[in-house]
Symmetry: C2
Subunit: 535 residues, 2 copies
Amino acid sequence: MNKNKKALAILMRARMRPNFNDPAKLSLFPLSSNPKDNQFAGNAMQPASDRGNRMANDLGNTESAFEVVRESMHAAMSMNKTEVLDDVLNNFSEGYFSLSHENRRKLLLVLAREYDLNRAQVRELIKQYLGLELPSGEKAKVSGYEEEGLFSSFYRIERNLRHALQPVYEVLFERLNTHPGGLRFLSILRADILSILAEENFVSLRALDSYLKGKLSTWLSPAALELHQITWDDPASLLEKIVAYEAVHPISNLLDLKRRLGVGRRCFGYLHPAIPGEPLIFIEVALLKNVAQTIQEVLWDSPPITENEATCALFYSISSTQPGLSGINLGKFLIKRVITLVKREMPHISTFATLSPIPGFMQWILSKLASQTKFSEADMSQKPAEGCSSTFWENLLRPEEEKTLLSLPKDVATGKDGMEVMFNLLTSTDYKWTKSPELLSVLKPPLMRLCARYLLQEKKRGKALDSVANFHLQNGAMIERLNWMADRSEKGLSQSAGIMVNYVYRLEHIEEYAHSYFSTGDIHASCDLRHSVEP
Amino acid sequence: MNKNKKALAILMRARMRPNFNDPAKLSLFPLSSNPKDNQFAGNAMQPASDRGNRMANDLGNTESAFEVVRESMHAAMSMNKTEVLDDVLNNFSEGYFSLSHENRRKLLLVLAREYDLNRAQVRELIKQYLGLELPSGEKAKVSGYEEEGLFSSFYRIERNLRHALQPVYEVLFERLNTHPGGLRFLSILRADILSILAEENFVSLRALDSYLKGKLSTWLSPAALELHQITWDDPASLLEKIVAYEAVHPISNLLDLKRRLGVGRRCFGYLHPAIPGEPLIFIEVALLKNVAQTIQEVLWDSPPITENEATCALFYSISSTQPGLSGINLGKFLIKRVITLVKREMPHISTFATLSPIPGFMQWILSKLASQTKFSEADMSQKPAEGCSSTFWENLLRPEEEKTLLSLPKDVATGKDGMEVMFNLLTSTDYKWTKSPELLSVLKPPLMRLCARYLLQEKKRGKALDSVANFHLQNGAMIERLNWMADRSEKGLSQSAGIMVNYVYRLEHIEEYAHSYFSTGDIHASCDLRHSVEP
């Protein structure tokens, strides 16, 4: 494998991001990405693939191209299983990759609608089933040897019904799964489906998606996933993927990549035998003396401490490489297994924590501020007395925060109330507020407090609204600490005003916390954080 | 890995077969084996495990032991998915292993009967479904955007119905599949189920078996299987498995094993990441100048030819290690992939053939001879004229064969007709007939002819009656040649009167032959063989 190093170095000197302008390469990527669903701790999934796709469009945008692929898709399902399937499946997947966005969409709708169930057959079986009399009345279960025979018609029709309820496209999925490269192709197919569904809701395509997702979950059973420690000795083709898919803190140069695989660092990925040389998800770990408060410490602590001085393993980046596996929680098992592995190798590590982005905070706070400002405009006349909260209008700010914001000089910030001032400051160009020590100190208290509220209290269907929070909480973590100005990158500022959060995995509580979050939505957090959001 | 060699040598000097007397070890094996279904080219699956089980019985034969395991089984299905499942699943599998045959049987029946479907729920959904009106009449498919909405109730109830039709034990299977060691455990569970079903037919347990078989097929997708060349550098723990599971030509000593992995030999196995260090199936290959006619040539051609002189790759043994994976054709993909691999490494190899046992021949011919002899006794008075075949009675022998058999001295063989003489000779103790050159020459013509008929013409449900023939034919092989006295071992003589067969895989015809065998049952055979069975 070492011979790959030189190749890698040459490769990386040339460019640090894969080139999506090459239409031959680009065909291996989905139409576009749906980063919202596929990020655990960041976004950026196959950037610029849209640009590339526009180039592919010219080749695969014709009606005849569509028909050819449609026929190969039909053949892939209708052929007898011992016929030369490999060629047919290859034709289909290659043909699919050559299609334009519009033709892919058309094809997927054909698949969802025309290769659906045989509903007439389902009805027929259902009628037969209703004609059967339940031998043991209420219970409807075999309760002894003499009853075995009475139930044989039930078992038979149930099996047939189960079969009839499988859509025709089940065959395509199963065949692709056993075909070399097929699982990878299915993952791309699903990424396309998700991006179509994000634009428009097709009931038929949604049904197909939910079916395919179920299949993928079964095939990607953690039992079939291999935990691999990624090192500098790995093939360049694999390391290139790490560079391309690192979603949280982009890898900027060769030195950066080497550091992330070097002393005081670990990188682990899940590999599936059907998708060789490409981790489905990977996690980057830093071995530190204390839980880091800023990402700069983690990325640039030079030189790193010696490993036997470390007491903390910090997960600072988790990236999923397959948008098509969205909703299939591979990370859960990954974190658990990595903790076990690190603990075994280095028993002196006692703290397992993350330094995580808060991808939804700015969006949440800006829309809150904007809507409250609107309310206050509309209801200016009947604005409720301070401290009295109406159902709709709420002052997000505490009196002292309001006061400080309103006392800022007018050339710095304007607004009729504190919330409008805050909104205007946060949306100023180039994050001007982050360059003024005065503005930083004014904004810090309300931002930190509201960020804690966002993480601890804002829910969607009983789960944390923030996707990364939801990810770690369902894995059994607790929210430990917020860190001010922890990520000053463009992305960090735009996502979360530069705030980052430490989640902590306490080995003895992982299962308990995961369970209580799952069943009641309870979020465990440190005392400090809980106090900060008290009224 | 080399450090394992010495350990292996020590290990193998001690004993060449795993010791099943150790109750701690034995628990990892199924109740008993069902070799008929699990052999491709032989039998012998985990010998003596019954003996060991009798020892385990004392520990796990009580009612209280049964109740404990039953409870852990229930917990494994009923617990919330984020609760501490690992312990529960471990308890259940360990508890199961400790149970006696009788208690395992009881438990599996409980699982099949009481963790079946919720039939009331199925009926409820079915009634809802019948209440829906099909929007587009006959076709019953979404045919355009405006219809998407009309079908949403269909998709919803279909999804719910699909879910309701899953038996409760589905949960147990899925959870075990994602649990370390769970897939191995499920394979043992199924081996037990098959051995129970071989004794007695329980409709409920058969339904469970067919469900579990479907699940296992999906999980063991060839895409997840890794083709591994097994060499002398592999860990002793893996090589020990090869020794234990070699089903066709038992490995007699260390030298024998080393030869089978040495010059002029290859051994390939399929490994699954969830069952590490244990190939699910493996195949042994000899590189030869010509297609071998006797197994002795293959096992004892000392020294072997240099590899670049070889023109033939002979598959002389295929063994499946998991009785619980019976009916799941792993071998098909294995043979295809091994051929591709060998061809790539050694382009001078032009013939891919097998030297295979014919496990069902003796059983077939003896029962034929016995039943015809009975017929002739019963119908002595109205015995049909020679050459005229009644529906029931048939002289298996040709006139000249009949004559030679009847002309044997009376102290050697007796019988009122040729078939009875033949039956008596073949069933004589210690295969006496094989020690007499005269008897060998008398028996050879009818045995070779009838063996060809058995392989080429005897069918069961449209497929070859012989299990090994069926295996190779469905993989696309043809029957090339029968070999007289090709396996003089006790097993070879008792299975097939010492006859072995060469199947040949012609690369350019594999798919075509597999397809015609699959769809019409056509068996491809060499001209010589086809002529030999002509009337």
